[in-house]
């Protein structure tokens, strides 16, 4: 039971991470390879609140969200200067620098990391089930936030920025401001996930947040389907569960993992559940009767 609880806790955390990157990438069109940096900042903030300032869990949790949101605004600045592949590299660099700071500054525990981070207990229950519920409540919140953003003017503006920055500016959208908004929300969500991660794992080391993790997060979003809500959720669960499921063939689990990702990208580039993926088209054919639009005679 605890084993599945722990898998579910981590799965929930990764779902949020994927959703957070999706806001940046799927909504605002900013590809980032530095999402693990925000994850790290959230985890460290929350852990430090508990360890150095003796604050209860929820204080650390909200502090993590606030601090990461703030740092996100700052670290989003490169996106205003550089684009596309340059941005990918710049965000990757941010990841390296953030990990380096945690590793080399003693206040953050340095290489010895932070340990003895308390796992909060709720309602006097002495197991991790309430924590699991909390994690998935947060997942629910992340889904709700993503969904709500996509419904508000902010979502519309982010979409506009993603599709065409010039056209977005021409309808009165401040492109830099909305890019930064996306960075803030994305970072804050990832920060909250970091807090949940820290308090569940009880110990943090800088190497937990190497840029490899950022790549994993990116893969989750792309494999699931960028820009949709269901995509990152399913992508995170699959990519998270895959190594666990492949344990039985443990000698080849990463060979298979890598191979499956390659195959996915070759045959389902829109992601498993992207809008134009085989699966979604099939589902739609099953459940929705789509009226055919006659483009021919549109004009």
């Amino acid at each position: 039971m605890d084993y599945f609880v722990s898998l579910a806790v981590f799965a929930g955390i990764w779902v949020v991470l994927a959703l957070s990157l999706n806001i940046l990438m799927g909504f605002a069109g900013q590809v980032s390879l530095g999402q693990a940096a925000f994850f790290a900042i959230g985890a460290y903030t929350s852990a430090l609140c508990a360890l150095k300032f003796d604050q209860p869990f929820f204080v650390g949790f909200f502090a993590a969200i606030l601090v990461t949101g703030f740092v996100g605004a700052f670290l989003g600045l490169p996106s205003l200067r550089v684009r596309h592949d340059f941005l990918v590299l710049a965000t990757m660099g941010v990841n390296f620098v953030v990990v380096a700071i945690f590793k080399y500054v003693d206040f953050f525990g340095g290489a010895l990391g932070l340990i003895d981070i308390p796992t909060p207990r709720f309602f006097g229950v002495n197991n991790d089930i309430p924590y699991l519920i909390l994690v998935w409540l947060y997942v629910g919140a992340a889904i709700l936030i993503s969904w709500y953003i996509s419904k508000t003017w902010t979502g519309l503006a982010l979409n506009a920025v993603r599709i065409n920055e010039e056209a977005a500016a021409a309808v009165g959208i401040s492109v830099p401001r909305f890019k930064i908004y996306a960075f803030i929300v994305s970072a804050a969500l990832a920060g909250g996930a970091g807090s949940l991660y820290a308090h569940y794992l009880k110990s943090l080391f800088p190497d937990n947040f190497n840029f490899i993790e950022s790549i994993v997060i990116l893969s989750m979003v792309v494999v699931g389907g960028v820009g949709t809500l269901r995509g990152p959720i399913i992508g995170a669960i699959i990519l998270r569960a895959l190594p666990e499921l492949l344990r039985e063939v443990h000698d080849y689990r990463f060979t298979l993992y890598g191979g499956l990702i390659v195959l996915m990208m070759l045959f389902q580039p829109m992601g498993l559940l992207g809008d134009d993926s085989t699966l979604m088209r099939g589902l739609r054919r099953l459940f929705v009767r789509k009226e055919k639009v006659d483009y021919e005679h549109a004009a």
């Binding site: 084993y3 981590f10 590793k103 010895l112 340990i115 009880k202 937990n208 039985e248 689990r253 045959f267």
Partner: protein, 410 residues
């Protein structure tokens, strides 16, 4: 193209399904207890069996993939060897040991999940960490909370044993190693000026802290100190600086991969200072990779290959026989973890309390590769003599044994 795509999808799906399907019986990746593990025709009777009749399951986790896979492999191989030797000699009071190993990929969150899997699905009675500090530290609270003993084979993070009364360590605490290093540099090498190189992880930082604390007491002067990263391949700029500082000794923390690079580049650059390392260097890989450049390097370690102890020699020869390569320090520690745990279960039974009691009562234990183990402290750290070795003629040989309790007690 379309058909091809569909076909490839089917293949991928099939692979996934096959790989996901639960194996009929969870075959642990160890072959050691196979003879005693008779084919089970049905699963039902198992529940009614008295617990002593089945094999005693020990949980084990180590990195078998990722950048630290070599150490994980060593640890796992040695643990398998120990289990085989124990089972050949009749197991634990007649019951065979069964080792259940999972790959943690060097990641703490995987270790935390794996720990729970070991406890729940595999119902192990105790566990051994064959992993680095991060994963070990993440798994320790899980075992502590489940009321299960966990032995850390070679992870040196000082805080691991502080998790609780069920967590014990085999390897020498980094702090102690550091102190022994300083003692060696001051007393045996009669050096005055030291340059310190620290690998920027918990291992290096703890070692350096121990070294520096003791260096003050024995009157060493630290004239240079610098950090470097795990996996560093270019020490040349640092060596240039060390040359300029002209120390008598370079105390360089790290693992054999970095260390072999360091000593080779130091030799190339004409650095004259004596290089002193620690158990991270202690692998035949170090000598293999550094070749002649490793000659004369002195390290502090737990494994004394020149030891007259029967079990040390048995481990070294059996390991070579089983895996066709020379054993290393990481392996010896994992081997000893199994040995100590087996001893504890023999004397105290397979309950957690029994194991803890037996471990606490451990005295002058010699049935191990890196022994003798004198006793456990109240903080569940091992007290034992620390050896130092020098590379001579392409092999590690005893340089000096440190038994002074003032230095070797954690």
């Amino acid at each position: 193209m379309k058909k091809f795509a569909m076909l490839a999808w089917l293949v991928a799906l099939a692979v996934l399904v096959v790989s996901c399907a639960p194996a009929p019986t969870p075959v642990p990746p160890t072959k050691a207890p196979e003879p005693t593990k008779a084919p089970e025709p049905t699963k039902a009777p198992e529940a009614t069996k008295p617990p002593s009749a089945g094999p005693i399951k020990i949980g084990f986790f180590s990195p078998l993939t990722g950048p630290t896979a070599a150490d994980g492999q060593s640890a796992f191989n040695s643990a398998k060897l120990a289990v085989k030797l124990i089972n050949d000699a009749g197991g634990i009071n007649g019951a065979p040991l069964q080792l259940i190993n999972y790959d943690d990929a060097g990641k703490p969150d995987q270790a935390a999940s794996v720990a729970r899997k070991l406890i729940e699905s595999d119902k192990v009675v105790a566990a051994i960490s064959g992993a680095y500090s991060g994963p070990t530290r993440a798994a320790a609270p899980v075992f502590q909370q489940a009321g299960m003993v966990m032995l850390s084979a070679y992870a040196i993070h000082p805080e691991i044993t502080k998790v609780g009364d069920k967590i014990f360590r085999i390897g020498t605490l980094a702090d102690v190693q550091g102190k022994v290093g300083a003692e060696l540099v001051a007393k045996n090498l009669k050096a005055k000026k030291v340059a310190i190189l620290t690998i920027d992880n918990d291992y290096g930082v703890s070692l350096t802290a121990g070294f520096k604390a003791h260096a003050l007491k024995v009157g060493l002067e630290i004239i240079f100190e610098q950090k470097y990263s795990f996996g560093e391949k270019d020490f040349r700029p640092i060596i240039e600086k060390i040359k300029a500082a002209n120390p008598d000794v370079v105390y360089a923390t790290g693992y054999y991969a970095e260390a072999s690079t360091l000593v080779s580049q130091a030799k190339d650059a004409g650095l004259k200072a004596q290089i002193v390392g620690q158990e991270g260097y202690d692998s035949p890989q170090f000598i293999k990779l550094a070749g002649a450049n490793s000659e004369g390097v002195i390290i502090t370690t737990d494994l004394n290959r020149d030891s007259k102890e029967a079990m040390t020699q048995k481990f070294l020869t059996e390991y070579k026989k089983a895996y066709n390569e020379d054993a290393d320090m990481v392996g010896a520690s994992a081997f000893d973890a199994v040995q100590v745990l087996a001893y504890a279960m023999k004397t105290g039974g397979t309950t957690t309390d029994g194991i803890i009691k037996a471990l606490k009562g451990l005295k002058d234990f010699k049935d191990c590769a890196t022994g003798p183990f004198l006793r456990y402290t109240a903080d569940r750290e091992l007290v034992r003599p620390v050896s130092s070795q020098i590379v001579k003629g392409g092999a590690f040989h005893l340089y000096q044994e440190f038994t002074d309790p003032a230095v070797t007690t954690p």
